[in-house]
């Protein structure tokens, strides 16, 4: 609450004209418009296509060719340089390996959160600054506020449906101070597409690409099966302990999951929890089973954008991208932060992010235990 009021007038990215910006171009709609807006506002823009992950094999058509071609089309239309940066090694080390390791241990991680922290606002930012950039820009839906006191904070996007601050909670204030998010001020996605079309950027018809950024056309299951060994185990009914069937690896399942359980008919069943050590998947047929709900979440690996933990108290919490904002009380305590919800909420898979807001301001969050 404290910092939010004084900064209403400062929303946006009022850096000086001619400032040097490296703008990530993914080939998608949002980053295309971000680059266009920056050019129009008089920034000196260099576009960068980050090549993060290519599950490419010799003889196969490379999956990122089309995205790069679209990025190129945008850059040529805007008359700006496009560079292709190879971030594959960093991405592999910090995102892919993290993802596989987390799944192997029974967690359901958010790779986008890691990617933003270590790649887009990590490697990309650092390399850009080394190259003399004043700012980096991306097509994220979020708003960066630069207060008169020099402090910088992150607000949810004006388009609450597209808001991506859920994926930005591990980015620190220092990185944000060098970042521009030009589309965060646009009221809705239709407007973004219309603005792209007006400018002839040629990407306005592309579908949204929410979700796991790198696995692309390959599903997470296919991806994990390339990396981890299948292992047969029991599917156990939560209430009775009865074995209902077999599964091919507890790491492939996540809390709340319904699809992919091959139990030979019967009612729809939901995953209540998984035990990757004993390789057991617990399920229930009761969609309203108390086992699928919780009223508190214990967090680890917490991160606060400002660098300082907020005071204990009531905040808004989001446990999935574009999910509902729910009221909860944050208690930092001595050990680990705990979030107590006003009303029970659907259980959140361990490894997911819980992101904490003070009004529209994203404070940070933690990883669900």
């Amino acid at each position: 609450m404290l910092r939010q009021k004084c900064e209403v007038c400062e929303v946006g990215y009022n850096a000086k004209r001619g400032a040097r910006v490296f703008c990530g171009l993914s080939g998608g709609v949002d980053s295309a418009l971000a680059a266009a807006l920056l050019v129009e506002q008089g920034y000196d823009v260099t576009a960068v296509y980050m090549r993060n992950w290519s599950r490419d094999l010799p003889g196969f058509r490379c999956p990122w060719a089309d995205d790069l071609a679209d990025a190129e089309r945008v850059a040529v239309t805007l008359g700006i340089d496009l560079e292709v940066w190879d971030c594959e090694a960093e991405y592999k080390a910090t995102v892919v390996d993290y993802l596989v390791d987390a799944y192997a241990h029974g967690y359901t991680p958010n790779p986008d959160v890691m990617c933003n922290q270590t790649i887009k606002f990590g490697t990309f930012l650092e390399r850009s600054l080394e190259r003399g950039a004043d700012f980096v820009a991306t097509g994220h839906y979020g708003r960066i506020v630069r207060g008169k006191d020099g402090r910088v904070s992150l607000l949810r996007a004006l388009d609450e449906h597209k808001d991506q601050t859920y994926f930005l909670w591990r980015v620190g204030e220092r990185a944000l101070s060098r970042a521009l998010l030009p589309v965060g001020d646009i009221r809705d996605k239709a407007e973004v597409r219309r603005m792209c079309a007006e400018r002839g950027l040629g990407v306005e018809a592309k579908p949204d690409s929410d979700g796991i950024c790198f696995v692309g056309p390959v599903g997470i299951r296919t991806f994990l099966l390339d990396e981890l060994e299948r292992r047969a185990g029991d599917v156990v009914e939560w209430e009775t302990g009865r074995v209902l069937g077999r599964h091919d690896g507890a790491f492939l399942f996540t809390v709340g999951q319904r699809k992919g359980l091959d139990l030979g008919g019967g009612p729809a069943r939901y995953v209540v929890s998984t035990d990757v050590v004993r390789n057991v998947v617990y399920v229930t047929a009761d969609h309203n089973s108390p086992a699928l709900f919780c009223d508190e979440l214990r967090l680890t690996d917490e991160h606060w954008i400002s660098g300082e933990a907020p005071a204990d108290g009531r905040y808004l919490v989001r446990t999935r991208h574009a999910g509902e904002l729910r009221g909860a009380v944050l208690e930092l305590g001595a050990a680990a932060p705990v979030l107590r919800f006003d009303k029970p909420v659907r259980r959140v898979a361990p490894g997911q992010s819980a992101v904490i807001y003070d009004g529209v301001c994203c404070l940070g969050g933690g990883i669900v235990e």
Partner: protein, 422 residues
């Protein structure tokens, strides 16, 4: 300025000729029968397929039963390589389908000169006593080099004779992929002296996914696709009747028009080349200088230090579609293996356009495209702060440094580097 659409990428795809389309149409609807079915109607369709086979055979100077229809040239090339187990010899600028097949054999890869032409003497030295297949395309689709296939056939024949005299039993065959050549060069298997020949309908105003492999009586083909035993057991699967009929008609039209069309395309190519060079004299034209040694309708031109991929996009906005030698080839950003192999310096390769003219291309198209190309190159030059004087100097230093491309084609590679073995 008129708003024209000019397509200059006929080496990538050709529109199906209306006559070809008309010949194909009945087979989608009223003449849909399976050629293998026993009733009279089906026999008619089978006869149509065999008539098409006969037409194609006559046009390439072969026996009908030595032709296998495939789903395109890539499959035909795969089928050719599947006929042998042992050592193969290919040149380094072959199409990916040939290089990929060669990659599964013990092999030697021969280099080409700066003009992209294979030296038959180098092929002769690359052939080992156990070599079973030599594969050299008739014409290269990227820089247009026409290979001396007849001379290479003599080299292979000499090796065959040597083995016969020496009592060595290993066979040796010569394969040529004539996909890019069929529109402008003779593809008579007898005069080429080859044992295996690949053709594609898609490059001669016929349908895509239709091709053929011709094999001489000496070669025993081995199937890659098993099933009902169609195509004499070499290529199972119900015949692509419409495609085969269309292929035959397309090849007929190509052969009828070949001479006149080659001359016309050659003239248009010179016009395009002249118009670009008169405005941008520092542009670098690659490929054989001798018009007899290259495809008539192909112009490969490079603009040093200017990204061709950007030119492609800028040209697309002017309605002009062109190919480029730098693309996301396979998986990395890199220039094509053909340009690398002729020793083209990277700043030239990355700035190169492949312009291929075709049957529908007119003088007006060429003039419009030349204007558009000059304009978009000039736009990029002004964006990058380049001018003609610095560009000319840059090209001179690039060509001087590499010692390639501009020099004449007879720069004989030294013996140690001409062949790459595995």
């Amino acid at each position: 300025m008129d708003n024209r659409e000019v397509y200059l990428d006929y080496a990538a795809a050709t529109p199906v000729d209306p006559e070809v389309a008309a010949a194909m149409l009945p087979y989608f609807t009223e003449r849909f029968w399976n050629p293998s079915a026993p009733y009279a109607r089906a026999r008619e369709v089978r006869d149509d397929v065999e008539r098409a086979r006969g037409t194609v055979a006559r046009l390439i100077g072969a026996q009908p039963d030595s032709i296998v229809f495939t789903a395109g040239a890539t499959e035909a090339n795969n089928l050719a390589f599947a006929a042998v187990d042992g050592h193969v010899v290919v040149d380094v600028i072959e199409h990916e389908s040939v290089l990929a097949c060669a990659g599964m054999h013990e092999r030697r890869t021969v280099r080409v000169g700066p003009d992209g032409i294979v030296d038959p003497a180098v092929v002769a030295r690359a052939i080992k006593p156990q070599t079973e297949l030599v594969s050299v395309e008739l014409a290269n689709g990227e820089i247009g080099s026409v290979q001396p296939v007849r001379e290479i056939a003599r080299v292979v024949a000499a090796e065959r004779a040597r083995r016969l005299e020496a009592g060595e039993r290993a066979p040796i065959y010569l394969h040529t992929d004539a996909s890019q050549a069929a529109g402008s060069l003779s593809v008579n298997v007898g005069s080429l002296g080859v044992d295996l020949l690949t053709l594609s309908a898609a490059k001669i105003y016929g349908p895509k996914q239709v091709g053929l492999l011709w094999a001489s009586d000496d070669v025993r083909l081995r199937p890659l696709v098993y099933g009902g035993g169609q195509e004499a057991g070499v290529r199972s699967g119900t015949e692509n009747v419409a495609g085969i009929v269309g292929f035959a008609r397309a090849l007929e039209l190509s052969c009828e028009r070949r001479g006149a069309e080659a001359r016309r395309l050659g003239g248009l190519r010179e016009r395009l080349c002249g118009e670009i060079l008169s405005e941008l004299p520092w542009a670098v034209v690659s490929g054989p200088k001798n018009a007899k040694r290259r495809l008539p309708g192909l112009l490969h031109v490079a603009f040093a230090g200017i990204e061709a991929r950007r030119l492609v996009i800028a040209l697309e906005r002017r309605g002009v579609s062109v190919g480029t030698g730098s693309a996301c080839a396979a998986s990395r950003m890199r220039v094509s293996h053909v340009l690398e192999s002729i020793g083209m310096p990277r700043p030239l390769a990355e700035g190169s356009l492949r312009l291929t003219l075709g049957r529908p291309t007119t003088e007006d198209d060429v003039d419009y495209a030349a204007r558009a190309i000059v304009d978009v190159v000039r736009d990029e030059m002004s964006r990058l702060g380049l001018d003609d004087v610095t560009q000319a100097a840059r090209v001179a230093s690039l060509l001087g440094a590499s010692g390639q491309v501009s020099r004449n084609s007879q720069g004989q590679a030294d013996a140690s580097s001409e062949v790459r073995g595995v």
